[in-house]
Symmetry: D2
């Protein structure tokens, strides 16, 4: 497997329990006739936020007066199969590993035939708006990530 | 002329004195092989803001502690000729008419051959963040709009 | 009503029978904290194509070897209320009037409270790929538009 | 350095000789007040294509009747500093290593102060439209990549 973040695909795949369906828009295709490859990251974002909402883990991030904010540290995507207009893609999300104030989120996208179309990952860090430093997850928050991943 | 906001094209065209060049991105094309028609409004936005900056008319709109904010009331675009990947389009902007707290901005886009590719317009209103009501332009601000349009 | 394409709002509103739900993405907001106004046209596009599919009216438009293609002649949007991240917006579509080879599509978007958030319209023309001229709708196609609108 | 694709930053940085300037659009910001992180990949794409054009290396990729097509195999981005509306970002591109039919392109983005704002990389493969297999670079094409990188 070219993706270094996937040790054993069968194990990795089985750990996903959340997915979000996204219909490919016409405006998201390009002149090569398929989904433009810059768009998968918007799909990751939409799936990630809905995953975090499903965990009850949006904290006070969207509150303008909140003290904490999530920051995306990096993002990557590996393109496996072409995706076309009007397909509905299931974007799976899981917490692959949890740090003190960060989490490594992994993504797996499949088409309606169940074929793998792209995979990805990216670290997200919870920081303080004032200091810019990481704000540690509480034990409860860590539990929420674990619960959804291993079941 | 199908565009009802253009009375006399020759006169209308001559009143533009500001333009902003935009290179069509690959990600902005669609599977029909040309610029996707939802993208022209992002071009209008980029040209509009650069036009307002050129007038010295961004006021305190981007200041989070500012009191006034510009609101786009409506937008429209008429598509004349297809636009393709890698073309550089000149997007012209002018204040067509100025109200008490609003301005009707018109847009004209031409390709490198000087051919008209799309036109448009949209009203922008300056409102108070607190009350949501229109905040009148000062005489100086109105002058800035007029100066750039009629010369 | 500022929208000149709406004669009688109560009548106009009642003629819609198709709607498509769209969840506002984080990447579609802007630094003013709401849905960026250039994005509503991508919503119109997604709702329009799903509406045409629901009518059975995509013809051979997406077939690379097809002879006909739909062309968007113009688009406009009137912004009524702010739309925010994570809201789900219902985008209604109807054929307001049907020409020989064209159709005037109208759009109405409402938030979860049933409040009007934006409206719009735009003409679409079916043309021949070879000649670029309009290709007349068949009587069956016109019927499909009418059926969905008046019921 | 957290980026595993950068061995020695000073050496890596010096190997870039091409850059493309991009002005951050208002529509590319999000409600957190900065450039939305899904947009950097569209910047990479625009810089990459202008880089390939500058090398004379677009081959017949955009020709609908051409036999070869470039495919993006993967993409990744590491976010270093926030990027804000209206900044102009210089996006540097280089061929970091060249395979038989592929090339590993690296990206470095700096703001007007010369500060590093994000970095990235991604493999691109030239394939045959008919067979889907890799099409080897000619010696001349490899030379073009090398010339621009090491000087």
């Amino acid at each position: 497997m070219k993706q270094t973040y996937i040790k054993d695909f069968a194990v990795w795949e089985k750990e996903f329990s959340y997915s979000f369906p996204i219909q490919v828009r016409f405006s998201e295709t390009d002149m090569f006739g398929h989904l433009n490859n810059t768009v998968t990251f918007a799909y990751f974002e939409q799936a990630r936020i809905n995953y975090l909402k499903s965990l009850g883990l949006m904290n006070d991030w969207l509150n303008p007066n909140g003290e904490r904010i999530p920051v995306v540290a990096d993002l990557q995507c590996d393109y496996i199969r072409q995706v076309f207009f009007d397909e509905t893609i299931d974007v799976y999300v899981k917490a692959d590993s949890i740090g003190n104030s960060s989490v490594d989120l992994h993504y797996m996208a499949k088409n309606a035939k169940g074929e793998l179309v792209f995979t990805g990952r990216g670290a997200m860090v919870q920081i303080s708006k004032k200091t810019g430093s990481g704000v540690a997850w509480t034990e409860e928050e860590k539990e929420l990530f674990y619960k959804k991943t291993k079941n």
